[in-house]
Amino acid sequence: MRYVDEYRDADRVRRLADAVLAEATRPVTLMEVCGGQTHTILASGIQQLLTERVELLHGPGCPICVTPLETLDLALALTELPDVTVCSFGDMLRVPGSHGDLSAARARGGDVRVVYAPLDAARLAACEPDRRVVFLAVGFETTVPAVAAAARWARDRGLCNFFLLVSHVRVPPALELIASDPERRIQAFLAAGHVCTVMGTAEYQPIAATHDMPIVVTGFEPVDILQGVLMAVRQIERGEAQVSIQYRRAVRDEGNPAARALIDEVFEATDRPWRGIGIIQQGGLGLRQEYASLDAQQLIPTDALPQPEEPERCRASEVLQGRMRPPECPEFGRGCRPEQPLGAPMVSSEGACAAYFAYRIGDVEDEIASQDPAREAQA
């Protein structure tokens, strides 16, 4: 495949990994921000090529993982209202709220539909005027322009039966939070290319400058990630802290001005709870006053919903902030597995815990197996 194969080329990957190992004079720890990058790293085995010299920690960039339980509970409650259709991207269907997930709600008779674009949900509302159509709008800046376009489309047509359940999150405030952690382990970020395709790099400059952290915007293929690692290592070696772009084939400094203008028309920054982390100042996007009539929250009194409860044993907060790698969580692979997840990072396929479980559980099982005889011997 053009544009893809060349970024998966085994020789290029190995040459880049060798260059990283040759240039890193001391061990470094980097964080890849996005779940898509995490997935590539684990699926292709990049960490094995980098040995212990470069440690990759996984960041908060899985939009499914950070969607609060309250939002999912609200979506589930909406499926029980008469005449309400809840639309969502496919991978939201299996994320559990406090009481089951959307696919279970569909099995119970709720009208839950998978869409591939927010505009499809708006079109559905236009075709079915007797139903109230709610689009569950989750995701980072990448998915926001399409939602904003759907909102504008619905408003221009005067649709009264299209609503948005908004849980959009913004990446820079989360990076700011992680960078200012006094116990921070990481020396640079590999920022998510898709987000910067839309937003550009301006918001990242102050984070790099204030916290003395290189930020390299990378793509999602193995070659992208290793080039990004190499660029970050070079900056660290030289004592620099700049925002640089590896993913030049998609990202420009100014991002996509048209998409940004669309976002600005419909949304504004707002404080938002992130699942596993808590409220992040300015960490989300909410509908502007002019679009408030689209807000799905008005369809249901929120105080009618049960208090969501997260299991205490889950260390998602530490995993999402790069203080802990998933296998270091005591519950990983023991009490917490994809069939019975304790926390969101084990639920979404892009979540760091789920990615480790999928691709590396064997190592952890080896570890558990090798620990057990020792424990017995001690007892």
């Binding site: 990049i46 991207f89 991978d91 939201m92 998915t143 193995p222 396929s349």
Partner: protein
């Protein structure tokens, strides 16, 4: 059945081998036994499905007994697919291929098929005729008669247009043994063609995704190709077709059944470019998409060359290649390891449930 229904049914089924008119539909009368239902069979279904024992209209089809030492293989499968028709096939040909292939995977030469149709009130008769035509054609191409069948009609809303059940009997030659438990370290895993075309074609048709390059289902009958292989290499240990769950689910099943470790070579896995791009865009793994015209063969390494040559000499096996190998299990753990393109290793996860497109 009301008199009006009866009259309708008679009118629309008048004529010898009628092509139903646009607008004619399955009614509950077609399920009532006599009258309309007999005519549905005689005039719409039998001419399309028949030839061979079905035309005898016995309660049971009579088949010749196999030779001494041979065994019978018997299998059944029900098909529910939405949409009923998709690029490269439809529920009818799929039901025939599915059951023929199940027989072939146990080393059997198929002898006869049965066909159970559950029709939903309201199904256009033109659709039914197309599906029956395609079923009949698939069976005729494979040289295996649809020997017996049954039709029922359910009320509107209680079916998905049409459900098809096919059963099949086949004969396994004396001495032929194929089983997952026979897979041993030292076997290689040969795959006969590219991955995921059927799953991707159905997904595109169902979700109305239009793609630059058309993706066609790989639905095909495999018995011939299997005979080619088994005649050249009787030492084959196991055959399996990657239907639901794709090759990913298949290798996990075999690893568990045989108590071995399976190693897949990522760079060798064949995926056609349009399927690969669809998967890129939707976040799906072609390893877990269904195939309906491919199979995996576990063959002792010494016979791999002969097996590949035998497969490649048949049109359905031209793209056959070696994609993995079988190793002993480590610490009793039966798992699937992928050797990635870049020379590292990872485990192959088994996803929970149907593949769902991701968000970004």
């Amino acid at each position: 059945m009301s008199a009006a229904d009866e009259a309708d049914a008679q009118a629309l089924l008048a004529g010898s081998c009628p092509a139903p008119a646009e607008g004619d539909r399955v009614t509950l009368a077609h399920g009532a036994g006599a009258g309309a239902s007999a005519r549905l069979f005689d005039e719409l279904l039998a001419p399309r499905l028949g030839g061979g024992p079905l035309d005898e209209r016995h309660d049971s089809a009579l088949l010749d007994a196999p030779e001494a030492g041979a065994r019978l293989a018997f299998t059944t499968d029900s098909f529910v697919v939405s949409p009923l028709e998709f690029p490269g096939g439809d529920i009818g040909s799929l039901a025939v291929h599915g059951t023929l292939n199940d027989l072939a995977m146990s080393g059997a030469r198929p002898r006869a098929l049965s066909c159970g149709l559950i029709l939903e009130e309201g199904l256009p008769l033109t659709t039914l005729a197309r599906i029956a035509e395609s079923m009949g054609a698939a069976a005729r191409t494979a040289g295996v008669p649809i020997a017996t069948g049954d039709t029922k009609v359910v009320e509107r809303g209680k079916g998905d247009g049409i459900f098809v059940n096919t059963s099949g009997v086949g004969v396994v030659s004396p001495g032929r043994e194929l089983h997952p438990k026979l897979v041993v370290p030292g076997d290689v895993l040969i795959l006969t063609g590219s991955l995921g075309c059927h799953g991707a074609a159905v997904l595109c048709a169902r979700e109305g995704l239009s793609f630059d390059a058309d993706i066609m289902s790989d639905s095909e009958p495999l018995p011939d190709l299997v005979e080619n292989l088994l005649e050249a290499v009787p030492e084959v240990h196991c055959l399996r077709d990657p239907t639901r769950g794709g090759l990913g689910a298949l290798v996990h099943e075999i690893a568990a059944a045989a108590g071995v470790e399976l190693r897949l070579e990522e760079a060798a896995l064949p995926v056609d470019a349009p399927v690969a791009s669809l998967c890129e865009i939707l976040g799906l793994d072609p390893l877990f998409l269904a195939c309906e015209g491919r199979f995996a063969a576990f063959v002792p390494e010494a016979h791999a060359g002969t097996a590949l040559a035998a497969l490649r000499s048949h049109p359905l096996g031209r793209a056959a290649r070696c994609v993995g190998r079988v190793e002993p299990s480590t610490r009793g753990r039966t798992r699937v390891v992928v050797e990635t393109r870049i020379g590292a290793t990872r485990l192959l996860p088994l996803p929970a449930g149907e593949p769902l497109p991701r968000i970004c």
